[in-house]
Subunit: 526 residues, 2 copies
C-alpha cells in the first residue's frame, strides 16, 4: 500500500523548500568543482552516466532529497505500477510500458492474458514479418522487395519512433544493420503526405498505419491519402499496408492489411516507442536484432529505477532535482541540448513525453493543487543551439535549467583534424565549455560582457549513441517523468487537455458554430 | 533625435501595468467575441492578416498601448535605424538588413558606398550566377549540370535559409520554380556532414560556404570535411564551391571558390536571410525570380512597420502586446504554432531571432535593468503539437501565450475528402477550434476535464504560403523583435552571451584547463 499525497503536504518538501540553496559558481570553482564532477556521477545503463555536478545541490541537499524520495514513496509507487495496479486512475487503466522490455516484478494478467507474454509475442510476430520482408519473402505484387517503410501516425505514434529512427539511421548504415529507409507522415496538413509521397517510390513502399483506437482522424485521413496514391499508381493497397492497433479496433482483422500487430490500452502513446508502435517501423528499418538491443538498453535503465538508494537511481535523482528546480527555485523551462546531430528530434519527443504527462493542474484525485507542475521542454542540438538561443540562456533575465547529452565517439567515424583536433573533439570541448560557462560565469567591468553564472545543468555522457544507449536514454526520461508525476501527485498517464479542441474542431467542420468560432472559421474559409 | 529610456521609466508603462486586465473568456464569448474577431484584424502585407482578438487587450488597453508606443518613440527609433544611425552601439555598427529589400528612408553611405546599391548589386551578381548554373553555363569539370546546392553555415547562416527553403520547396515544385535540391550542413558534429555527404551526389553538388568573418570554426571545419569528400571523389573542390562572406574576409578573393558574394557588418546573422546569406542558396534552389518575390513580401511588411498608427502597424502591435504579456502579465514563454508542415523549422528560426536578440540583462548603455526581457520561444507545427505538448498549454499550471499561423489553401493542391471535409479544412478547423478552446475554456464538474481558458493567442492568416507571404512573415517577426528591443531598451543586435563558451572551448582543445573543466574534459575523452 502506498499513500498518494500532494507535494506541499510532505514534511521533507518543506525542509527542501527551506534549505540553503547552493551557490553554484562558488562550489564549481577550483578543486571543489573538480571533486564534484568526479563524485556526482551515476551509471544509467548501457554505458551512460548521469553527471549532476553542475546542479544546485550538495551533500546536504541530497540528504533531504533522499528523505523526500522516501516520504513520497516514489520507488514504491513505481513498484505498484509495474506490478499492475490501476495507476492511471482517470482512465482506469494499468500502466505497462515497462513490460515491453522486461518483467520488473510480478506477472500481470489482464484481459485474460499474461501481459509480458502478449508483448513478447507481438515482438516475435513483428520480427518474423520483418525478416520475411528483408529476405524478399514478403514482396509487392510484382514480387519485388520493399525498400522503404512509411509510418502513418501522429503524436506518440510519430515523435518517439521518428526520433529513434533518426538517432540510429547513421549508426545502422555504419554497422551494416540498415535494411530500409523509413519516412513518417503525421500532420493532417495535406502538404505533409503529399511531400512524403512525392519523395518515395510507392511501388516499393510498405506503409505502417498506427492508431490504437483505429479512429484517429489525422491518421485515417492520411491513410486515405496513401491509398489514393497507391490506387493511382495501379497498385493494390492491401499488399502495401500493415496495421499497428489494439485487438479491439476496426483495423485489427481487416483484409485491408497485409498484417496487424497489437498494442493495448495499458501503454499510452507517448510511452509506446518500445511497443509495436515503435517496434514495427524500427524492426523493418534496422532489423529485429537492433530493436532487441534497443529494448535491452531500456531494460537496463528500468532496472536502475527500482533502486531505493537515490545515488544508484539516476531517473529518480534527475526527477527530484527537477522538482527542486521547478517548485523551490521557480524555473519554468528545461532545455534539452544533445551534442549529437542524430538526436535532432529527441527534444521534440521529450517535449511530448514530459509536457503531456505532467502539464496538469489537478492531482490524481481530480482536486486542484496549489503548486506548479510539469515544465516547458524545448531544445535543439549543440553546437547549433550555441549560435542561436544560448544568448538568452547565458544572459537572459530568467534561469533555464539545462540537460546536456554528449558522446565520446561519433556514429559514422568520418572525421577531419583541423587545428589539431577532430570535429568530435570540438563537439565535446564545446559541451564541456558550456557547462562550466553556465555554472561559473565570468565577471567583467563591462556589464554587457559579464556572465552571472549560477545556471544549473546536468550532462548525460555515453561512449557512442548505439541502439542500447538510445534505449537507456529513452527509458531514463520516461522514468524521470513518471517519478516527477508521483512527486506532484498527478496522473501522468491521461491527457484530458486534448479533448476540448477535438470537440470544437468537429463542430467547426459540421458548421455548427456561432460567435467567435464562426467568424474565425470564415477567416480560414471553412 | 530619440531618447533611449528604460521601460520602467515610462509613465505609459506604469499606466499599462496598473490597467485592468481583460477577462478573455468573458470577452470572447457570444456576439462580443464575434465582433472582436472581425475588428481586431490588421493587414500585414502579402495578403496576410494579424488577428489579435484572443489577446488580453480591449479598446481601453489599446489606447494605453498606443500612448506607450508613442512615449517610447518606437517608430521613431525604427526611422533612426533605417536612416543609418549606429543603433548597434555595443559593436558600433549600423543595422541595415531592411535595406536588402528596399530603401525605407534616406540613402545610407558606409565604407564609401551607397548601401542599397551594394546590396542590390550582390543580388544581381547572385541572380546572374544562378541563371548560369540553371542554364548549364556554369557546370562541374565534366561539363554536367549541378543538381544540388549545399549550404555550409551555422546559426543565422543556417536556421533562416533552411526554414525558408523548407517553407517554399513544395510551393516551388508545384509552381515549376524548383531548380535544385538544397541541403544544409551546420553542426560541428562530424555525423552531420557525413550524413549529408552520404545522401548526395558530390559530383553534381555545389557548396555554398557562408561565414561573414571567414573564421567561424564550425563552418571552416565542415568546409574541410567537404573538400576531403570532393578530393576523395577525384574532383577539384574549387569548381564546386562558392563563398558568401564579407569583402574583408580571407575567403573574399580566394582562388578556392568559383565565385564570392558579399554581406557586411551591418547585417547580423539572424537578420541575414534576405541578404546574400539567404539569397545565394535560395536563388539557386528556386531561381532569382522567386527570391525577388520573397524580398518584395518582406518589403511590404517593412513599409507597414513605419506606420505611426498602431492599428496599421502589425509588427508594432504584436511587439507591445508581447511586452504587456511578458512584463505585466508575467509570462516567460511564447509558443509559435504554424498550422503548415512547410513551416516546420520556422519556430527554430524565430527561436534564434528572438532569444539571441532580446535575451539580455543590460540596457543598451550596458547598465543592469530591473525588468524581464526576451521570452523563451519554442514551437512545432499543428496539428502535430496538439497530440504532443498542448496538454500543458491547456491545463498546465503556467500560461503560455500562443502565436498561431494558418493558411486558407495548401501548397501542393493534393487533397482528399474524408467525412465531408478536405484535409486542408480539417487543418483550418483545428486551429480555429484551438484558439477558442484556449480563450474560452470549458467548465466541467470533473476538475480533470475542466479548461480554465484565459490563455491568450493571436493568429496570422494568409491565402497560401507563397514566397511573398514567407517574406512578409519573416520581416514581421524581425520587426516585432526590433520593436520589443526598443521597448526594453536593450541592444537587439549584439550577442556577447555567446563569447564565454567559445573562449572556454578553445582552452579545452588546447588542454589548458584545471578544476571542473579538466575533469569534464576527461569524461568526454578530449
Amino acid at each position: 500500500m502506498v499513500t498518494w499525497t500532494n507535494l506541499d503536504k510532505l514534511a521533507s518538501y518543506q525542509e527542501l523548500a527551506n534549505a540553503k540553496v547552493v551557490n553554484l559558481a562558488e562550489v564549481m570553482t577550483g578543486e571543489n568543482g573538480a571533486e564534484r564532477v568526479k563524485k556526482y556521477n551515476v551509471p544509467m545503463g548501457a554505458g551512460l552516466v548521469y553527471n549532476f555536478a553542475s546542479k544546485k545541490v550538495d551533500d546536504a541537499t541530497l540528504e533531504i532529497l533522499a528523505k523526500f524520495a522516501e516520504e513520497a514513496e516514489l520507488v514504491d509507487k513505481f513498484e505498484v505500477l509495474y506490478n499492475g495496479e490501476v495507476v492511471n486512475t482517470g482512465e482506469k487503466r494499468l500502466v505497462l510500458h515497462h513490460m515491453t522490455r522486461g518483467q520488473l516484478g510480478e506477472a500481470v494478467v489482464a484481459d485474460g492474458v499474461d501481459k509480458r507474454t502478449f508483448y513478447t509475442n507481438q515482438q516475435k510476430a513483428i520480427a518474423e514479418f520483418a525478416k520475411k520482408v528483408h529476405a524478399g519473402e514478403i514482396t509487392n505484387a510484382a514480387g519485388e522487395k520493399f525498400t522503404t517503410v512509411v509510418q502513418i501516425g501522429i503524436g506518440g505514434s510519430d515523435l518517439g519512433p521518428r526520433a529513434i529512427y533518426l538517432a540510429l539511421e547513421n549508426w545502422a548504415k555504419k554497422n551494416d544493420a540498415f535494411k530500409m529507409e523509413a519516412k513518417f507522415i503525421s500532420n493532417v496538413d495535406p502538404d505533409d503526405a503529399a511531400a512524403v509521397l512525392n519523395s518515395i517510390d510507392v511501388a516499393h513502399s510498405l506503409f505502417v498505419l498506427v492508431s490504437k483506437s483505429g479512429t484517429t482522424l489525422e491518421t485515417l485521413t492520411n491513410e486515405s491519402f496513401v491509398k489514393d496514391a497507391l490506387k493511382n499508381a495501379g497498385l493494390d493497397a492491401s499488399k502495401h499496408m500493415v496495421a499497428v492497433t489494439s485487438e479491439t479496433s476496426p483495423l485489427a482483422k481487416s483484409a485491408d492489411y497485409l498484417a496487424a500487430f497489437f498494442m493495448d490500452d495499458y501503454i499510452g502513446g507517448r510511452y509506446s516507442s518500445t511497443s509495436a508502435v515503435g517496434g514495427c517501423v524500427l524492426s523493418l528499418a534496422f532489423g529485429p536484432e537492433v530493436f532487441a538491443q534497443f529494448l535491452d538498453g531500456a531494460a537496463e535503465a528500468d532496472a536502475l529505477a527500482k533502486n531505493k538508494n537515490l545515488m544508484e537511481n539516476p531517473a529518480l535523482l534527475d526527477a527530484i532535482i527537477g522538482v527542486h528546480e521547478r517548485n523551490v527555485l521557480g524555473h519554468l523551462c528545461t532545455a534539452v541540448l544533445p551534442y549529437s546531430q542524430a538526436l535532432s528530434r529527441f527534444p521534440a519527443h521529450l517535449q511530448q513525453l514530459d509536457m503531456e504527462s505532467n502539464g496538469k493542474s489537478v492531482n490524481r484525485f481530480g482536486e486542484p493543487i496549489d503548486y506548479v507542475t510539469g515544465p516547458v521542454i524545448f531544445g535543439e542540438p549543440g553546437t547549433n543551439g550555441q549560435h542561436s538561443f544560448y544568448q538568452l540562456l547565458h544572459q537572459g533575465t530568467d534561469i533555464i535549467p539545462l540537460q546536456f547529452i554528449g558522446f565520446k565517439n561519433s556514429q559514422c567515424g568520418m572525421d577531419v583534424v583541423i587545428e589539431d583536433s577532430t570535429s568530435q573533439q570540438k563537439l565535446g570541448a564545446n559541451v564541456v565549455a558550456q557547462i562550466v560557462a553556465f555554472a561559473c560565469g565570468k565577471d567583467d567591468a563591462n556589464a554587457n560582457k559579464k556572465f552571472e553564472g549560477g545556471r544549473p545543468s546536468s550532462i548525460i555522457v555515453g561512449e557512442q549513441l548505439t541502439p542500447a544507449a538510445m534505449g537507456a536514454l529513452l527509458a531514463h526520461f520516461e522514468n524521470k517523468v513518471m517519478f516527477q508525476g508521483f512527486a506532484w501527485n498527478v496522473n501522468s498517464f491521461d491527457q484530458e487537455g486534448v479533448q476540448l479542441g477535438k470537440v470544437l474542431a468537429k463542430r467547426v467542420l459540421a458548421h455548427d458554430t456561432d460567435g467567435a468560432l464562426k467568424v474565425y472559421s470564415e477567416m480560414l474559409n471553412i
